[in-house]
């Protein structure tokens, strides 16, 4: 058993390896950690590299894969790549859920019956409130897409990212996601993290290394402590949660990560419920 597999089995290391598919996005949310926007530098990691990481992660003993961005579905080859990756390990892909026109939905055919779940952002139960930070039409497009994805047999999770939310508003949001076909166990609520554009807007909670789970995250720039690591501010990728620039072989980064997790004080980490 590899050191990674052992650490994962013992619960010392979360089993998911994340990768940043890209950094550009069709939206430009106020709290975006990566300053993503349609014209942001793309930093695409590439289909071959994603498959390679999936294979290496499985061999090292990781149990799950995560794909984030930017908006990963701007990459037209993504569905096929996700399907192929899921042959190695289950995949969770984060998306804003606004690109799924009828044609794009048809392009998701490779994902049907695969171990690929989508996590879609939906912050508020009212269109205007939701779209204030995420941009016009966001709410309508998400609410339109989710049931269609569920109908296709694709597992959908809803992620709500907020500074704070009143109970009554959260109740209405939960009623909405249930109505869209997403059960309570697939809804997560998390705080805005004060990095990227959130920093400029004075939003969110400051997150240090101990506040975020140690989930190995690979980007074109290197390997990071968590998907909250390779954020962008003033156009520059943050390095405070960088582990190594070397990501090939993945074991270099994974072993450094293991060493770092061993150095953390014992206790109730991930205190901010950031995930």
């Amino acid at each position: 058993m590899s050191a990674v597999a052992e650490a994962v089995a013992e619960g010392k290391l979360p089993g998911r390896v994340w990768m940043y598919a890209d950094y550009h996005c069709n939206l430009a949310c106020t709290y975006c950690l990566t300053e993503s926007a349609p014209k942001a530098p793309r930093r695409v990691i590439g289909r071959e590299r994603m498959l390679e990481i999936a294979g290496e992660a499985a061999e090292l003993g990781f149990t799950d894969l995560g794909v984030t961005g930017g908006e990963p579905f701007l990459l037209r080859w993504l569905p096929e790549a996700l399907a192929e990756m899921s042959e190695r390990l289950p995949v969770l892909v984060l998306t804003n859920g606004t690109l799924f026109t009828r044609r794009r939905l048809a392009e998701l055919a490779p994902l049907v019956q695969r171990d690929v779940a989508m996590q879609i952002s939906l912050d508020r139960p009212d269109p205007d409130d939701n779209d204030e930070m995420r941009g016009p039409e966001n709410f309508r497009k998400v609410v339109d897409a989710v049931p269609k994805l569920v109908d296709k047999g694709i597992k959908v999770r809803i992620a709500t990212t907020v500074e704070s939310i009143e109970d009554a508003e959260l109740d209405r949001l939960c009623a909405l996601h249930r109505e869209l076909g997403v059960p309570d166990e697939d809804h997560i609520v998390r705080p805005i993290v004060r990095r990227g554009r959130a920093l400029d807007h004075d939003l969110g909670v400051v997150a240090h290394q101990v506040d975020v789970p140690a989930e190995l995250t690979v980007t074109v720039d290197g390997a990071f402590w968590s998907p909250f690591g390779p954020t962008v501010h003033d156009g520059v990728v943050d390095t405070d949660l960088l582990i190594t620039r070397t990501t090939r072989p993945l074991s270099t980064a994974a072993n450094a990560m293991l060493r770092l997790t061993g150095e953390l004080p014992e206790g109730d980490d991930v205190a901010l419920n950031i995930r």
């Binding site: 390095t239 405070d240 949660l241 960088l242 582990i243 190594t244 620039r245 070397t246 270099t252 450094a256």
Partner: protein, 184 residues
């Protein structure tokens, strides 16, 4: 201004953080921090090669300042001029090492003269060190010392090229010290 971003403590990568624990670690660490796995292995090597060892502090600074002068590394010459003064070298000796005065008039000890002739060839020459210079060194220095001195020259050259290639800035403190000593 350096040609690359020098990482401050706030942006120090996880493996680089220990190097920032005592405050500003200087531009060599702040540049190498861009590649933490390299920093993590390079710094212990550099510290061992250039730090306290069987070779005396004075002898090490002779080698480091002379090598840096031969390679025309303004960062390392400035930084190690200050260190050489701390190690007890005279102004005249430092000037000679920097190529501003005649080495033969500043140094009299045959052991040091043999060392400096050899450093000049190893750091500045091409191919093998001429036999006479090599034999001159071995006449005064033990094998283990020759090995270590060779590594000191090599490590200094690595830093010379790093500092020159990345245009690392000399610290304000060093600039002030050299100005006060009349050695800028």
């Amino acid at each position: 201004m350096a040609t690359v971003r020098l990482l401050d403590a706030e942006q120090a990568p996880l493996l680089a953080r220990p190097f920032y624990a005592k405050g500003d670690p200087g531009p060599i660490v702040a540049s190498l921090a861009q590649v933490p796995e390299l920093l993590e292995t390079a710094m212990p090597f550099i510290s061992t090669a250039l730090g306290p060892s069987a070779i005396s502090w004075r002898d090490k600074e002779l080698v480091i300042v002379r090598t840096s002068a031969v390679l025309e590394c303004s960062y390392c010459v400035a930084t190690h001029t200050a260190v050489a003064l701390d190690a007890g070298l005279s102004h005249q000796e430092v000037r000679a090492l920097r190529g501003e005065e005649d080495i033969a008039s500043a140094f009299r000890d045959p052991r040091e003269l043999a060392l400096l002739a050899w450093v000049g060839e190893l750091a500045g020459g091409r191919g093998s060190v001429p036999a006479a210079v090599r034999d001159g060194l071995h006449a005064h220095w033990e094998d283990h010392e020759v090995v270590e001195l060779t590594v000191v020259v090599g490590a200094t050259m690595l830093l010379n090229r790093l500092a020159t290639g990345l245009e690392l800035p000399v610290s304000a403190g060093t600039e002030r010290r050299l100005a006060a000593e009349g050695l800028r």
